[in-house]
């Protein structure tokens, strides 16, 4: 070494008693902006419909001070849909951020946990195979519940197969991809052999939609997501050092095996909650963390910003799908059509700015 005394630029630390964190103004600002934008789009989405309700009245109604008519339109008719979008977006975004961090692979998403693949295979089976057991299952527990069970079952299978004295990122992605490939092949095969009318119905389910959500469906997904988010947040302080590698994390006092196991389970269940509320809306979980990462300027997917980016993407796309497009398209299609190019734009912009 040349003896040059180089002081690296370090972000300032903040300490309150036992709690300390690094003060990153940009991260806080971007997260706050994302939250504000999400709330704004949420309100606009609720205000627009067959009958238009002005924004101040929407906000007043949300906080419990609207007149009975507004109350009915906002809370009973439009709120389930908007809330479903919010919850699904947050769940997908956080789930994706967790997976991409745990697998240390930016191409990972809940798709490779098998949750969406398993749910899709079960749903397509129930839609396309008529009669007998499948009709009985669809009749008694409903399509969404059966699909959710299939998704969670597949997710837990991947989890069990990956577990060998801990969760290893490399094993996780390869096992997950294998299981998902089987589910994908089953889905493709079922679609190829089915009646074309059923195929259209199945395809519509596969894309994911926020149409005709009921309060019951949304309420379950909402509480599940909330509980899971509390678990994730409480584990988040242990989570950051995992990016430095297992040895370093262990040296810093992180029980990495336990933390990783808990967080991965949370990711599976969050994806399940999202699928139960909207179907397997594709790509949100893949794209949202990568977009959030680039907006925040952090080297790893930030949890809060990823969830908010997912929510903004989903309810924004739903708004566009309902108001701006000539034909009715499910929200999953619009989400992908907006999210994909936006990710590419961020990549290209970063490339053009890079100096070396």
């Amino acid at each position: 070494m040349s003896g040059l005394d180089v002081q690296p630029r370090v972000a300032a630390g903040v300490r309150f008693g036992r709690v300390s964190f690094v003060w990153r103004p940009r991260a806080v600002l971007v997260t706050a902006l994302l939250a504000a934008a999400t709330f704004a789009v949420f309100c606009v989405s609720v205000s627009i419909g067959d009958f238009r309700i002005s924004l101040p009245r929407v906000v007043a109604t949300i906080f419990g001070r609207g007149d009975p008519f507004d109350e009915f339109v906002v809370m009973d008719l439009r709120m389930p849909r908007a809330l479903a979008g919010l919850v699904v977006g947050i769940a997908m975004g956080v789930s994706g951020a967790l997976i991409q961090s745990l697998a240390r692979n930016p191409l990972a998403s809940p798709d490779i946990l098998g949750v969406t693949g398993g749910a899709s295979a079960v749903a397509v089976f129930l839609v396309t195979v008529s009669g007998g057991a499948s009709a009985a299952v669809a009749g008694t527990v409903g399509l969404s519940t059966a699909a959710l069970a299939g998704g969670l079952g597949t997710g837990l299978l991947v989890y069990a197969l990956t577990w060998r004295r801990g969760i290893d990122g490399f094993r996780l992605v390869l096992i997950g991809i294998s299981v998902s490939a089987v589910m994908q092949a089953l889905t493709t095969w079922l679609l190829a052999t089915a009646d074309i009318r059923d195929v259209a119905k199945a395809q519509a389910w596969l894309v994911g939609s926020l149409d005709n959500r009921s309060w019951e469906e949304v309420r379950i997904a909402f509480w599940c997501t909330l509980v899971l988010l509390v678990v994730v947040v409480s584990a988040a302080f242990q989570f950051k050092p995992l990016h430095l590698g297992d040895e370093v994390a262990a040296g810093l006092g992180v029980r990495y095996s336990a933390v990783r196991a808990v967080l991965m389970l949370c990711a599976v269940l969050l994806a399940g909650a999202a699928v139960s509320a909207a179907g397997p809306v594709p790509f949100v979980a893949l794209v949202a963390p990568q977009i959030a990462m680039r907006l925040v300027g952090s080297p790893t997917p930030p949890l809060a910003a990823s969830g908010l980016a997912g929510a903004l993407l989903l309810i924004g796309s739903d708004l566009v799908a309902r108001t701006a497009l000539p034909t009715a398209l499910p929200v999953g299609v619009v989400t992908a059509a907006i999210g994909g190019p936006f990710l590419v734009y961020l990549l290209v912009r970063a490339n053009l700015r890079r100096r070396t």
Partner: protein, 341 residues
């Protein structure tokens, strides 16, 4: 392990794979909705047209159905295997598959476009659209990823590929949801089949794949160096940007041509690349030929199994690759046999 001991062993393995592929190729001529005896296969291949109705029929089956399928399975399987090994080498990502560069999504969108706009219904007609779509999507992804100074940074490339894939898949779904003819064609296209394509398609596709293989061969030594890291590779005299451009062009040619002819066959390239790495170690000069031979062998075997499991119906090879290959592959991973790239 000493280097000298490994060479002959890896060479021997290559010979065994070639032998197995030859056996499978011969067997694939005999297996099908109608089983043929070895002598019938021989007649079918080489006999002149005769007055014997039965022999003529056999000749027709062998020459117009079984031989094209065998050739296409070998060519496409080899292309996807080599493409899978290359994309993992270039992106340094163990879950990179040949579909990553937007190739499958581009081909699917072009197929749906051809059907909904031009009303094509025959696979032989939209093969060329699929090829153009795959090439265009691959070119766009690579172009976007190499804008500015990033010059084909592996992560940017992979993510740009995902972004373009996401967008094209959305467009494909949007068309298919509003047009039943497209949806109908799309579901068959998606299952990835070796059948129903004649030599009029197979020859051009083989030509493109041969060009891709030649290009791939030329890049092999530089992948080894690139995997040491960009700085080391540059220090050792590799022109990084040029090597990457060649590699991506090779992958696009290989996977694009195979996908155009058969439809998207997911998982094959990813799986054989990992198995090949397990067999040969990380040296791409061995890994890539192994992956190509394994890809051809797996696709040929899956096509044969697909002909007999649900006779007289057929199960498409693309579906079987995942249904048979994935559990096998998962077992390998679970037993800790595979190492990361």
């Amino acid at each position: 392990m000493p280097k000298g001991a490994r060479g002959p062993r890896r060479g021997g393995g290559l010979a065994v794979l070639v032998l197995l592929l030859g056996l499978a190729a011969v067997a694939s001529l005999a297996v099908g909705a109608r089983s043929l005896s070895p002598s019938e296969v021989w007649h079918g291949l080489f006999a002149e047209p005769t007055a014997d109705q039965r022999l003529n029929e056999i000749r027709l089956i062998v020459q117009t159905v079984r031989v094209p399928r065998m050739v296409l399975a070998i060519v496409a399987g080899a292309a996807l295997g080599v493409g899978g090994a290359l994309i993992q080498g270039y992106t340094r990502n163990p879950i990179a598959d040949t579909g990553l560069l937007g190739i499958n999504a581009g081909a699917s969108f072009a197929v749906v476009f051809a059907i909904s706009v031009f009303g094509f219904a025959d696979p032989a007609q939209y093969v060329w659209f699929a090829l153009a779509g795959a090439a265009l999507a691959g070119a766009v992804v690579f172009g976007l990823a190499s804008l500015g100074r990033g010059a084909g940074n592996p992560l940017t490339l992979a993510l740009a590929g995902q972004g373009v894939t996401v967008f094209l898949t959305a467009m494909t779904t949007a068309v298919a949801l509003n047009d039943q003819a497209s949806l109908n064609a799309l579901r068959f296209w998606n299952s990835g089949s070796i059948s129903g394509v004649g030599f009029d398609v197979i020859w051009p596709v083989t030509g493109l794949i041969a060009a891709g293989l030649a290009l791939a061969t030329a890049t092999l030594p530089s992948i080894n160096l690139l995997n040491l890291g960009d700085d080391v590779a540059r220090g050792l005299g590799v022109d990084i940007a040029r090597s990457r451009i060649r590699g991506i062009a090779a992958i696009t040619l290989l996977a694009g041509a195979a996908t155009a002819a058969c439809g998207p066959i997911a998982f094959l390239g990813l799986m054989v690349a990992h198995v090949a790495r397990h067999l040969t170690g990380p040296d791409y000069r061995w890994l890539v030929p192994y992956a190509g031979l394994l890809g051809a062998l797996v696709l040929l075997l899956c096509d044969m199994v697909g002909r007999v499991v649900v006779r007289p119906e057929e199960l498409d090879a693309g579906v079987l690759v995942a249904l048979l290959g994935a559990p096998f592959f998962a077992a390998l991973v679970w037993r800790g046999k595979l190492k990361s790239a």
